[in-house]
Amino acid sequence: MARSVIHMPATARPGDIIAVRVLVQHSMETGYRSNSVGEPLARDIIRRVECRFDGETVFAADLFPAIAANPSVAFYLRATRSGSLQVEWRGDAGFSHTDSARLQVG
């Protein structure tokens, strides 16, 4: 199973607005639930998503317990130059995952 999927066009013309959708596999355990014998389940969520285009932060978001499992985040970018979009997810229990996709402009 893939840990993450980035949906965005591979090519764009200069000035185009492109949609980026990033999906990551994560249980997003809220910390408010208990298991079958009544013990509380520790919170285990993604706390932050950061997207950088060739190192420059173009989008970032804080996530909270009310967000469903396998969170999907969407945003828009104006394509100005070719480069690589890097997405980083960080969370509880040392969770960290990065994925990247190329954009060709021109």
Binding site: A2, V5, H7, L23, A68, N70
Partner: protein, 249 residues
């Protein structure tokens, strides 16, 4: 006299046709048609569908293991045909059963666990190849016995609540069970991403869920009973387009 005989033959014909399509003579509806517009939008737009996590994993497994023998165009319609008869085992097998048999016979590997991410991923990937194609259960006569066993199971009452599948999904489809619309139970989109599970599952997981809901002891994964039920459901939904990977509430 001849007219009477023709009349009898015709009515016998009609009766058997009706028996074959009980519950399907009314307009058949996929579970998709009974979902909220928001969920329908989520299924229509592949970039919003969390099933892509499993599908991409399945694609990777296919390229690594299966692509030695198969190509995806060659396997395009496979998901429309299963369960199908396996001559070595001498009984029908489901699509996930076939994947595991292929692993054991040709790759000499251990079978994948039922509902494991890897198995669901491959099944999802195969289903996605067949998306839009009509469900086409094979006309193999060796399947007839299991299919009619499936129909019997569909109409048998189960569990402490003493319900059959047909009582909800034929007799009361379209009405409501608490907050949810009762669907006609056509297996058009499996494996599905089910919001209640916050993950993906097979048709057998769904059937087992229904069995627990009527407080029956569910049949095991890969059991002949669940395979028979799958076969009857595929026959009942024959011709409906495959939606895999579908979203369900």
């Amino acid at each position: 006299m001849r007219r009477v005989a023709t009349g009898l033959a015709l009515s016998a014909c009609l009766a058997s046709a009706a028996a074959q399509f009980i519950g399907t003579t009314l307009q058949r509806r996929s579970g998709f048609d009974d979902m909220s517009p928001a969920l329908q939008a989520m299924q229509r737009d592949d970039t919003q569908n969390p099933a892509w996590l499993w599908l991409k994993g399945g694609e990777k497994t296919f390229d690594a293991d299966c692509a030695r023998c198969h190509t995806n165009t060659q396997l395009r319609s496979v998901a429309t045909r299963y369960p199908a008869f396996d001559s070595l085992l001498g009984k029908p097998v489901t699509l996930s059963g076939r994947i595991n048999l292929c692993r054991q016979r040709h790759l000499q590997r251990e079978p994948l666990a039922a509902e494991s991410d890897e198995l669901i991923g491959l099944e999802t990937w195969l289903g996605w190849q067949a998306r839009g194609l009509p469900i086409a259960p094979p006309a193999d006569p060796r399947l007839a016995a299991a299919r009619s066993k499936g129909e019997n199971l569909y109409r048998s009452k189960f569990g402490q609540l003493d319900f059959s599948c047909a009582q909800c999904h034929d007799d009361n489809a379209g009405r409501r069970l608490a907050g949810s619309t009762i669907t006609q139970a056509h297996p058009t989109g499996y494996p599905i991403y089910r919001l209640e599970w916050q993950g993906m599952g097979s048709l057998q997981r769904r059937l087992r869920g229904c069995m627990s809901a009527v407080r029956a002891e569910p049949f095991g994964f890969g059991s002949d009973e669940l395979t028979a039920l799958e076969m009857f459901l595929a026959q009942r939904a024959a011709g409906m387009p495959i939606e895999t990977p579908a979203i369900r509430p």
